[in-house]
């Protein structure tokens, strides 16, 4: 066989092999980076999924705490008012009874 032909064929094959190898290496590197990024995405998603119920629960507890604090303040005010009325020297049984009935009515619903 003519050695020129074998030279041309093997040269072309070597170019294909080297070029293809470099191309495949680039593709592999890109895929590796993409895989790592995808894995990070999955981890972030998982973390957010775990956190979400806790966030909702914290909001509920926040609201609950505000309501309880409001009620406590109302109760303290009420207590002070009643004590003042009872200790008043001019207090009568009828006036106290009226005060208690009214105080039960004007409590604002929370």
């Amino acid at each position: 066989m003519n050695s020129n032909w074998t030279h041309i064929i093997t040269s072309m094959l070597s170019i294909i092999g080297a070029g293809g190898g470099l191309g495949a290496a680039t593709a592999a590197a890109l895929r590796w980076r993409k895989t790592k990024a995808d894995t990070a995405d999955v981890l972030t998603d998982t973390a957010l999924t775990l956190i979400e119920p806790l966030r909702v629960r914290i909001q509920e507890l926040d609201r609950e705490m505000l309501r309880v604090r409001y009620e406590a303040r109302e109760t303290a005010t009420e207590l002070r008012r009643l004590r003042t009325a009872i200790l008043n020297p001019s207090a009568t049984l009828d006036s106290l009874r009226e005060l208690v009935m009214n105080s039960g009515r004007d409590r604002s619903p929370s």
């Binding site: 066989m1 050695s3 032909w5 074998t6 030279h7 064929i9 093997t10 040269s11 094959l13 070597s14 294909i16 092999g17 080297a18 293809g20 190898g21 495949a24 290496a25 593709a27 592999a28 895929r31 590796w32 895989t35 995808d38 894995t39």
Partner: protein
């Protein structure tokens, strides 16, 4: 859900051929010799490229086949090696046939088989990676099992 079947590169034939490529390339580099068929059929620089391709295919191929990370990374590394190994085998086949003619039928035939097998494996890897990507895009990855070998990859 049907698991996606990925054909592993840890087949005895493939692993042994990759080891042989590495060993042969090491011997050729250390002793600074080349097969007569290579000297006869290839111009000077191409002989060097041939040895490098052989060494690269062995190292990268074994790295890819025994990669312990994601299966798609393993496959894409293996793809580099089988592409390069197929080319190196084709070059050597041309050399053997040109140098020995019909007397080199046995050697040329086996080397050509290695080249053909490598490129076959390359198309197989491309197919597996394409189906893997489609499954990821459609988010139907439940379980990826390998057809050959024991690796099971949960995604």
């Amino acid at each position: 859900m049907t698991p996606i079947r990925i054909t592993s590169g840890r087949h005895p034939f493939e692993v042994v051929v990759l080891i042989a490529a590495l060993v042969v390339a090491t011997i050729l580099i250390l002793t600074n010799t080349r097969p007569p068929a290579v000297d006869a059929a290839m111009p000077g620089p191409v002989r060097l490229v041939w040895v490098i391709l052989l060494a690269v295919s062995g190292v990268v191929g074994l790295l890819g086949v025994f990669w312990r990370g994601a299966i798609q990374t393993s496959l894409s590394i293996e793809a580099i090696a089988v592409l390069v190994l197929g080319t190196a085998a084709a070059m050597y086949t041309v050399g053997v046939v040109a140098f020995a003619g019909i007397d080199g039928a046995a050697a040329g035939g086996f080397v050509a088989a290695v080249g053909a097998g490598s490129w076959w494996r390359l198309t197989q890897i491309w197919g597996d990676l394409r189906r893997f990507d489609q499954a990821v895009k459609a988010q139907i990855i439940g379980e990826v099992t390998t057809l050959i070998g024991q690796r099971t990859n949960h995604e």
